[in-house]
């Protein structure tokens, strides 16, 4: 940057809605409540409420299966990933999903279906006993309401940033709506809304890639523009190839994620993907409720096909962000991570890429549909979690541990109330996140690491009859602890972590800006005439002496000049200067700017809050010296570290389960009937026409997957 002003992001909302847009949003809320009220009369038993009566057709099960995963956190998050990592972001929808979904359909579904479990923890109880089920049941209940709260928090925050809506109103209106329709209709309501949301998301999002590619001058032109623009947008990885799926995975340097093919195949493709798609109950619950085994299997395969289409509305918009989002002067717009101090002050963030494109292309009505799709995605994410929470709590915690002898009506009643309580806890979680927003980051990672050990435990239980209850319990628990340990390790800095030095001016500070060559030139010096300034890790020893890790506040009695850069651990780091809302001393008007590497003069009388920050543990930063032991490279980016961590966690789970099982007593074979391969007879569902054969369609989908990977190699 070196003195050039950064893009100024106005504090005003990114999107402005008109009357038609609002009508579309209000209609959506009324329709989902009406559907909940309508479905209440169809939920008379526990099976109706928790498993939608096990009556779903393959199409509904498949759409719901994929839709439960297509929340707005997902669409916005993975568009941001594509902006950050280029084409590699599409792997989450290809090798990072399809093989696992097909494996679920062909290999695992018969076991889930035949043992008639209510949940994945329920399977653990049957296979390993109460210990493994209790860990899974309690942690899953906790995770679902926290994720539901996170979804609500994210929605409220995004609607506030994009549209200027009040955070509290967003949280309460959406939660009450979800509470009404889930408490009334249970899983049936959640599934109905997921199917509805699926269509809204596609109609609300598909126009963006269509118009964007036209705007970029076609696919090839878009790819050329991306490779030119990333030199400016992502200068630290400017030589990386952003436009390939595999060609750039030969070394850690050649791609923007800092990963190699091994991490992509075994970390994402095996551990994370199989964990998520085969054992995350929220997903599995969607298909085990199908009307018969064949519908469950075909529904899952339909889900795989739909999943492969999602990059059209997620990855392509992320890539378009690198090509068509421009500043008024025609230069590429630079978006930054949420953790960047410039985020939402001078620059939009990676997560804004989809909303920015919406604002760029969608006119009246279309914008309302896009925002409705976003709200629908958040609400159905919340509803999915709440209905899964109600099921797991009622069947895996309440029934075995609190009241074993209740009748069906009693558990139905408990389920309805648990849904409402789940929403209330989610609201509490949303407020916790509102006050401690960094928790969101930890939470997502913890969920990420919980499901991989769960997959290791479940798959060994299904495929290996020698796996013992003790093996399952200890393998599962050790792998969870190991996952958390790895996470702590990569965020630990034994020698101390110092955030980038920063000077931020409070609202209303009066500032003069000196530039080269007149008004629009490079900023050469900033002078603060009056007001308040926050200074982090920039030495001002002439004025104040502060011990490391301390904070002090003072009013300057003489002029102080802050250096443009400081030396930290033998390297020179530029000082970041952020002015989100200050008063220009000459023009007497409000202005905003961000700049690096220029001196700042603080006049006498300026109030200074000075902090010297050094941390041993920094959740927002990764220690490359530690990351290289997990992700095999110091260049590994967060996503690469997550993938490798998933892989190691699976390895630990499998090794511990196998070793402990070899030294402990297995269950008798009679008790493993219908739970383990080789001891389970797959029921004959009668003659199957070729077009309903799950194995045939799984093979076709696999072939298409290979073809897509070759085309975009």
């Amino acid at each position: 940057m070196n003195g050039f002003p950064l893009l100024a992001v106005a504090n005003a909302p990114t999107l402005t809605l008109g009357a038609v847009d609002l009508l579309i949003i209000v209609t959506y809320f009324l329709v989902v409540i009406a559907i909940g009220v309508y479905l209440k009369k169809f939920t008379n038993t526990g099976e109706d409420f928790f498993l939608a009566g096990r009556k779903m057709t393959a199409w509904i099960a498949g759409i719901s299966f994929i839709s439960a995963n297509l929340s707005s956190l997902e669409t916005m998050g993975w568009s941001a990933m594509a902006y950050q990592y280029g084409m590699l972001g599409a792997h989450a929808y290809l090798i990072g999903a399809i093989p696992a979904i097909l494996f679920l359909a062909v290999v695992m579904m018969p076991f889930y279906y035949i043992c008639k479990t209510h949940s994945v923890p329920g399977y653990l109880k049957l296979r390993y006993g109460e210990g493994a089920r209790s860990i899974a049941g309690v942690s899953f209940s906790f995770m679902t309401v926290m994720v539901s709260g996170a979804s609500m928090f994210a929605m409220a925050k995004i609607l506030n940033l994009l549209l200027g809506w009040d955070i509290h109103v967003s949280i309460w209106v959406s939660s009450i709506t979800v509470a009404i329709y889930v408490a009334l209709g249970g899983l049936l309501s959640a599934v109905f809304n997921e199917v509805l949301q699926f269509f809204l998301i596609w109609f609300g999002s598909l126009l963006i890639p269509i118009l964007g590619i036209i705007h970029a001058g076609g696919w090839n032109k878009m790819m050329q523009t991306i490779q030119q623009n990333v030199k400016i947008i992502h200068p630290t990885v400017q030589n990386a190839d952003f436009t390939s799926l595999w060609r750039n995975l030969g070394s850690f340097d050649a791609n923007p994620m800092g990963i190699d093919w091994f991490g992509m195949v075994f970390g994402l493709g095996l551990a994370v993907s199989f964990g998520y798609w085969c054992t995350d109950f929220l997903q599995v619950q969607r298909v085990i409720v199908a009307k018969n085994l064949r519908a469950a299997q075909n529904g899952t395969i339909i889900g795989a096909v739909l999943k492969m289409c999602v990059p059209l509305i997620v990855t392509i918009p992320g890539l378009l962000g690198l090509a068509v989002l421009l500043n008024p002067d025609g230069s590429p717009m630079v978006l930054v991570p949420e953790s960047d101090p410039r985020a939402r002050i001078t620059n939009h963030t990676f997560n804004d890429v989809l909303p920015l494109l919406m604002g760029q292309y969608l006119g009246p009505g279309l914008l309302g549909l896009g925002v409705t799709a976003m709200i629908a995605g958040f609400m159905s994410g919340m509803a999915g979690n709440v209905s899964a929470f109600a099921t797991v709590w009622t069947y895996d915690v309440y029934k075995p541990l609190i009241k074993k002898d209740g009748n069906d009506e009693h558990y139905l009643h408990v389920g309805r109330w648990t849904s409402i309580i789940g929403v209330v806890i989610s609201i509490a979680a949303a407020y916790i996140l509102l006050w401690f927003s960094n928790i969101l980051e930890f939470l997502q990672v913890l969920v990420f690491f919980f499901i991989v050990p769960l997959f290791g435990t479940v798959i060994l239980g299904m495929l290996w009859k020698r796996a013992t209850p003790a093996g399952g319990f200890w393998g599962f628990l050790t792998a969870i602890i190991f996952s958390i340990g790895m996470w702590v390790f990569v965020h630990s800095f034994p020698e101390g972590y110092r955030p980038q030095p920063k000077v931020q001016f409070d609202k209303g500070a009066v500032v003069s800006v000196e530039r080269q060559n007149g008004n629009n030139g490079k900023i050469t010096r900033v002078i603060v005439e009056s007001g308040k300034v926050d200074i982090v890790n920039v030495p001002i020893t002439n004025a104040v002496q502060v011990a490391a890790g301390k904070k002090t506040e003072l009013t300057l009695t003489n002029e102080v000049v802050l250096p443009p850069s400081v030396v930290q651990k033998n390297s020179t780091v530029p000082v970041q200067i952020l002015a989100p809302e200050v008063v220009d001393a000459q023009a007497k008007t409000n202005t905003a700017f961000g700049v690096e590497n220029v001196p700042v003069v603080l006049k006498s009388g300026v109030n200074v809050v000075y902090s010297d920050i050094e941390m041993k543990f920094a959740p927002a930063a990764f220690n490359p010296q530690h990351a290289k032991y997990i992700a095999r490279s110091e260049k590994a980016k967060p996503m690469a570290i997550n993938m490798y961590s998933g892989f190691w966690s699976l390895v630990v789970c499998v090794v511990v389960t196998v070793v402990v099982s070899l030294f402990t007593k297995p269950k008798p074979e009679a008790e493993l009937k219908n739970l383990v391969m080789g001891l389970t007879e797959i029921p004959d569902e009668g003659p199957c026409p070729w077009y309903e054969n799950p194995k045939l369609w799984a093979a076709v989908v696999l072939a298409v997957l290979v073809l897509v990977n070759i085309i975009f190699w």
């Binding site: 008109g18 038609v20 009508l23 579309i24 209609t27 959506y28 329709v31 559907i35 309508y38 009369k41 169809f42 008379n44 109706d48 009566g53 009556k55 779903m56 057709t57 509904i60 109905f192 199917v195 509805l196 269509f199 809204l200 109609f203 126009l207 118009l211 036209i214 705007h215 009307k291 068509v324 604002g359 760029q360 292309y361 969608l362 006119g363 009246p364 009505g365 279309l366 309302g368 549909l369």
Partner: protein, 73 residues
Amino acid sequence: MSTGEHHEMIPIWFFIGCLIAFYGILIMGAGIYEIFNPPVKKVALWHLHAGIWWGAIMILFGLFYIIKFKPKK
């Protein structure tokens, strides 16, 4: 989807058809209105009038679902 014990459930596809068709009408209407009253601040590629043809696609899609999955009396 199948039925409850005493009631015939309206298929989800019917609800989807109604909602998408309604949204299509609103979006196409807003697009046509914009032709006669062009906004001061136009979106990119405004000249393609995406609202009109996208709205029309939504109406056709919605009508197909409404007709095909109309509840039986």
